[in-house]
């Protein structure tokens, strides 16, 4: 017979992982159920901790010793234990076979239901788990589908799913103490490369990759130099990691003699991907990560990425998003075909424009100058008048005497050359 205990913190600011450590100290099977809630298997613990009320009290005392105020509920199902912890008086034990009765008065909000099902049940006038449990299952399935039936089973105290055991994430960290202080950058990178090789080897043995690296250089005199880097893709290749560390340290080297080094990684599990035989190849993650880092050092991180169209009608409303080659094409695409390109001037070049009968007949700017032989406009656009930065613009498409096609813009006070058609 399965017995499950639910630990629920009542303190808002509890150290992460502390509740899990309390649970793991009492049972080998523990499931994390979101912030401040942990389930543990309470079956078979009588020999160690006594009966269930005694176990619950012991759990509460252990949590208090760790600085946590918790409520404990023990029942035959997760939902029963959660209701007992949340609605009980601090330590509540539901006797075997009593889950359904104890859940009857619990509110429906105890279940994590979809918005659609929550609305539907509210429309039927249901408020408690007991009312949901009393509905005929066949009719509920016809109206609310599998989710409705699953919710009813939970409301009846039935819990077919076993606990999803939580395992502590192993720390992937390597350190080295230098017998002689390192003054130059290259020996530091060399030692970090050795640490990276060891960490990557351990990651690879567990089928993991790292999507973040942090290093600490302990300096002579008590100081420390810390840094972190995030590769474009998770890596397990020590050579690539060393290249990235070299680049990062070259940009921001430690100022002092290095006496000790520590390298930490953030492990992630990467699903293997099957490459297509017919699709075009993509840049190798290793080469791409190194190239992107060099490009960032060259042009700056705010000047490189994938172009993104912003949700605005403001002229030239574009941004830069993170560039990550993916197999799913962007849905934001035009119909295609031979489109006349506009070359933007960023920022728009101030222009002196001569008007005749309200139409531009000549223009002069730092990039272009000449007589206007044809032109259409004005195309007026405006927007965001409800914000602190409204915009208003009259645009003209004009042809200069030398054949250049360009776009002029007047923002109400001055003329600008916004772009050149090419």
């Amino acid at each position: 017979m399965t017995r499950i205990a639910c630990l629920l913190t009542t303190t808002e600011l509890s150290p992460p992982g502390a509740l899990l450590q309390v649970a793991l100290a009492h049972s080998p099977r523990v499931e994390e159920a979101g912030a401040g809630c942990v389930y543990l298997e309470a079956s078979g613990l009588r020999g160690l901790f006594g009966d269930e009320p005694r176990l619950a009290g012991r759990l509460r005392d252990a949590a208090a010793a760790a600085g946590l105020a918790i409520r404990v509920g023990i029942a035959a199902s997760r939902m029963g234990a959660l209701a007992a912890a949340r609605l009980g008086s601090g330590v509540t034990v539901v006797e075997p076979g009593g889950d359904a009765a104890s859940l009857a008065a619990a509110p429906l909000s105890l279940l994590a239901l979809s918005e659609d099902l929550t609305t539907r049940l509210a429309r039927w006038g249901l408020r408690t788990l007991g009312e949901l449990a009393a509905l005929p299952t066949a009719g509920l399935f016809e109206r609310a589908g599998a989710e409705g039936v699953q919710a009813q089973r939970l409301a009846r105290g039935e819990d077919p799913r076993p606990l999803a055991s939580w395992r502590p994430v192993p720390a992937f960290e390597e350190s080295v103490e230098c017998e002689w202080g390192l003054e130059a950058l290259e020996p530091v990178v060399e030692r970090l490369g050795e640490l990276a090789a060891r960490v990557c080897s351990r990651l690879g043995a567990r089928g993991l990759a790292a999507d973040g690296f942090e290093w600490v250089c302990r300096l002579a005199g008590g100081g420390a130099h810390e840094g972190a880097l995030t590769p474009a893709v998770p890596l397990t290749d020590a050579t690539a990691v060393t290249a990235l560390l070299r680049l990062a340290l070259a940009v921001r080297p430690p100022h002092g003699i290095v006496e000790g080094l520590t390298l930490r990684t953030r492990p992630v599990r990467v699903a293997p991907a099957q490459e297509s035989l017919t699709d075009p190849s993509r840049p190798s993650p290793r080469f791409l990560a190194a190239t992107m880092n060099r490009l960032v050092a060259l042009v700056g991180s705010d000047r490189i990425g994938a172009p993104a169209l912003l949700d605005s009608h403001r002229p030239d409303a574009v941004g830069l998003g993170a560039y990550a080659p993916s197999r799913s094409p962007s849905p934001l695409r035009g119909e295609g075909g031979p489109i006349l390109a506009l070359r933007r001037l960023r920022p728009p070049a101030p222009a002196a424009v001569t008007l005749a009968s309200g139409r531009p007949v000549a223009m002069r700017s730092s990039r272009l100058a000449g007589r206007i032989v044809a032109g259409v406009g004005p195309w007026r656009s405006s927007g965001e008048w409800w914000t602190a930065h409204p915009w208003l613009q009259d645009e003209w498409d004009v042809e200069l005497a030398d054949g250049t096609l360009c776009r002029l813009a007047h923002d109400g006070s001055a003329w600008h050359l916004a772009g050149i058609y090419d």
Partner: protein
């Protein structure tokens, strides 16, 4: 049964149309597109980017790196041309020629990009030494490397040089013009060293294409 190469061009290949023109750019070589302002050179680049980023079998196409010497790329035009913006890496160089050359060199050496564009516009033609370095960087790879500038420099190692020329703007409106509808331009091959590289077994070393770009 053996099928003669000349009788089975790739699907979508039209030697006379824009497809034929876009299919000319050789992988592993340096190519150039030169032409004055408003000659359709940038439009030709966008058409090529759209073709490459959508060239896959329904699950995304090739990756393109665009080194923008003058920060002039208009993503709205690019998306309108049919390009997949998520497959485009945009490097803005802010009018710095040396930075643009270095960025293009780095990207040409990163395997996996189907196309690397170095858009210099009026920053000037690529210095001869830099052009040779770019050619070496892309040699032996599957990457198409294209430099777009206003003028062609003699002595460039480019394998293909396309020259664009403005023919006439297209206006709408009868008595009074009401809208700019597009541009008619001409693209011609001003230099080709593509013998035996073309899918048809030979490269067209002469001829021109008249293209209508619509706004």
């Amino acid at each position: 049964m053996a099928i003669p190469i000349e009788s089975s061009p790739p699907p979508g290949w039209e030697r006379e149309g824009i497809d034929g023109l876009l299919g000319l750019f050789p992988p592993g070589r340096l190519s150039e597109i030169v032409g004055p302002r408003s000659s359709g050179a940038s439009s030709l680049l966008l058409a090529l980017i759209a073709r490459i980023t959508t060239s896959g079998s329904g699950e995304g196409g090739g990756q393109v790196a665009f080194v923008d010497g003058m920060d002039a790329l208009d993503p709205t035009s690019t998306a309108a041309a049919g390009a997949d913006l998520s497959a485009l890496l945009w490097v803005r160089c802010g009018g710095r020629l040396r930075v643009a050359l270095s960025a293009a060199d780095l990207l040409a050496r990163c395997p996996g990009f189907a196309l690397v564009v170095l858009d210099l516009d009026d920053l000037g033609p690529v210095p001869a030494s830099a052009a040779i370095r770019l050619q070496r960087a892309v040699e032996g790879s599957d990457t198409i490397l294209i430099v777009r500038s206003e003028r062609h420099r003699e002595g460039s190692p480019a394998s293909l040089v396309l020259a664009t020329r403005r023919l006439a703007p297209q206006w709408m409106g009868l008595r009074q013009l009401t809208r700019l509808a597009g541009l008619r331009s001409e693209v011609s091959i001003s230099r080709s060293r593509l013998y035996s590289l073309s899918p048809l077994g030979r490269a067209p070393d002469e001829g021109s294409w008249t293209l209508d770009w619509r706004l």
